[in-house]
Symmetry: C2
Subunit: 445 residues, 2 copies
Amino acid sequence: MEVEGLTKIADLGKPRVVIVGGGFGGLRLAKALADAPVQVVLIDKQNYHAFQPLLYQIATAGLNADSVVSPFRKILNEQENFYFRMAEVRSIDPVEQVVETTIGLLRYDYLVLATGATANYFGDKQMEKNSISLKSVTDAIELRNTLLSNFEQALQIGDVEQLNSLLDFVIVGGGPTGVEMAGALSELRAHVFPRDYPELDLKQMDIHLVQSGPVLLKGMSDEASAHALKYLQELGVQVWLDNRVTSYDGYTVTLKSGDKLITRTLIWAAGVTGAPVAGLNPAALLKSNRYQVNEFSQVAGYDNVFAIGDIAQMTTKEAPEGHPQVAQPAIQQGRLLGENIKRLLNKQPLQAFAYEDKGTMATIGRHRAVGDIQLFGKQYHITGWLGWLGWSLVHVLALVSFRNRIAVFIAWAWNYITQDKGMRYIIGKPKAPLKEREVEIKPIV
Amino acid sequence: MEVEGLTKIADLGKPRVVIVGGGFGGLRLAKALADAPVQVVLIDKQNYHAFQPLLYQIATAGLNADSVVSPFRKILNEQENFYFRMAEVRSIDPVEQVVETTIGLLRYDYLVLATGATANYFGDKQMEKNSISLKSVTDAIELRNTLLSNFEQALQIGDVEQLNSLLDFVIVGGGPTGVEMAGALSELRAHVFPRDYPELDLKQMDIHLVQSGPVLLKGMSDEASAHALKYLQELGVQVWLDNRVTSYDGYTVTLKSGDKLITRTLIWAAGVTGAPVAGLNPAALLKSNRYQVNEFSQVAGYDNVFAIGDIAQMTTKEAPEGHPQVAQPAIQQGRLLGENIKRLLNKQPLQAFAYEDKGTMATIGRHRAVGDIQLFGKQYHITGWLGWLGWSLVHVLALVSFRNRIAVFIAWAWNYITQDKGMRYIIGKPKAPLKEREVEIKPIV
């Protein structure tokens, strides 16, 4: 690989840290290097950081996309050693220490992979084509457009099965995303759609949640799992435990149990897989598509190539299968790696990562949430009103910018008071535009 | 045309008023009929009302799209006689009293065309293909994505002409949209881009405004026109008066004077043309593509077909060429038509339309605006700080929903205090995605 045509970034004569991906981990690392004598170059295919845990609220018209995204340049434009390039990384050449991107080659001294994870369809191409996942802002907007278009189209349908294919939703995966999505959809059914669609019989709108294991929110406490199930049942969500979707053709969902569900909208929240980059030693990539890293986040076999967050699998005693693929490990690894890069520069020994588990929470609609909180080494369970308030507070505070916090706070206060979700406009396209759907329109004169 | 397959809307046994288009006029009319013994059916290809006068602020990252749109169902879901269908109208059969839409046929007793206007390219297909207009939310988002992508790409460019093709903007049309757009772009250049793009020399960013006549803001007072020109020149906008764009191939702009400008972003704000629907008597459609209507908004030759707003040309003594294609005539015609439809039902004589001109305003960046205000039959001119405050106030209050008003007010207060425009994310696609542009990337090692 010739090191010609390098991406045009000034050579500061300082070590260059290239960060690939501006999610929770990459962004925190970039910030942690603010006072380091390095050049920080962030590469991302988007020009903004998106707060993934709230994407489902964009999809269900509770928040607008703007509230949960912040442009990288805006977040970091006062950091003098920060450079951003909007591009995709194609491959890495660890010998020449060069990253190949869609806008040219880029030399690095330290390379940090923070590319995150994507939806894992376990090789089911038909599922990938027909379902909607919730990994990006674009996904969330597409899902919002789809569900609103469904309802607009449903007004024209006479046939009951066709009607149900538009009004029913199947969510696959009983983790936080699936559970929160099911809760948000049932809120739309209870409070918003009856006002918007008096012409429709909303008893026809069914929300199914399919979970492969025996409990929801696997990994949380039994108490949290049980409460989540109870809450969803109170809200009228049909929860299928110990079951699995075996196929989906865009219309009929077949379950392992043999049951069949009809829907045009299947939301895929059944786990993720790493988003690796070509060029590193294949042995460093584990079965989970995550890079094996040591306690300093160094990718196996490399001194100056690191991986943090969802793409990294740091197998320690406390986490033999790696840390959970959520925000906290990524943030903590990003922060520590910032310190460790400074230590490397100062030829000091590196600090080992120790995950501080702050707990897990999930909300299931108004006044309903579950949380396992770690405080002073002890685990506390919160549910109901308190859990819901705690969840809201934690998520508002976790947002990246002050503007985001204000925007989300105001939107939630508004939604709470009015029991409304106002962002129900179709801007852009649904998954399958109305015209392209083969729905027989049976109008009545 | 067989009246089979009618769009599935309950027959209330009441006269049905079908409104095509939910802009300022159509929406006001729908509201005005709230207490009338009719069924109101609104057809629009979007599921939301968009506040067009602020689209340029979406395009320049000052507002998010959400702040200026409201879903029709949300605005009107408490109005019992209101029905909405998201569809496009293909044609009208005035004999059978049926509208053909993309989702079926729809019978009407009273038909109101409020389809507005679209950008007028005067038949120049090349211009239409290569330029961006500002008539819809989608246009505005596309323009925002384009201008931000330009800057991201510019970082990779060595060649000065290529660099300028990305950083320079040409706006065609010196009406309110063109003038406000030029002002907003120069604010980005002065306050936002220097922070975001310290790597770029922003002296290279030129903003051109091309106006065919001798003055800007034609139709406003001489004082307003002169101030607008002065303000734009203070902000460093290059204003070309008495000139015209004769061709644009996506890269080179040729002016009537022979001058050539280089830009990949030409914003077309040079007038509009009506958006008529097929099926009515061609004689009723004037050269301007607007329907000729009488003082009761009845389309020439019809008793029960009306047109209001931009699509209507009511030639009265006060307005021999019809009313200006702005919000106020549409709103006032919508309101009066609501009353007149009730009068028709009661067999009362109709009231003739009299336009109440409240004045015209345009803003040209922070603390700079011009306004011709009509108060108690006298015209007042306001400029500068006062004009800017007045413009802001009028536009906040004119927004359709309380939520929109709050959102815009907060965003503006924020922008004002921070001198920032925070909505600079690229969600969706630019006019021409980066990869598809034939820009030679000349990187420096």
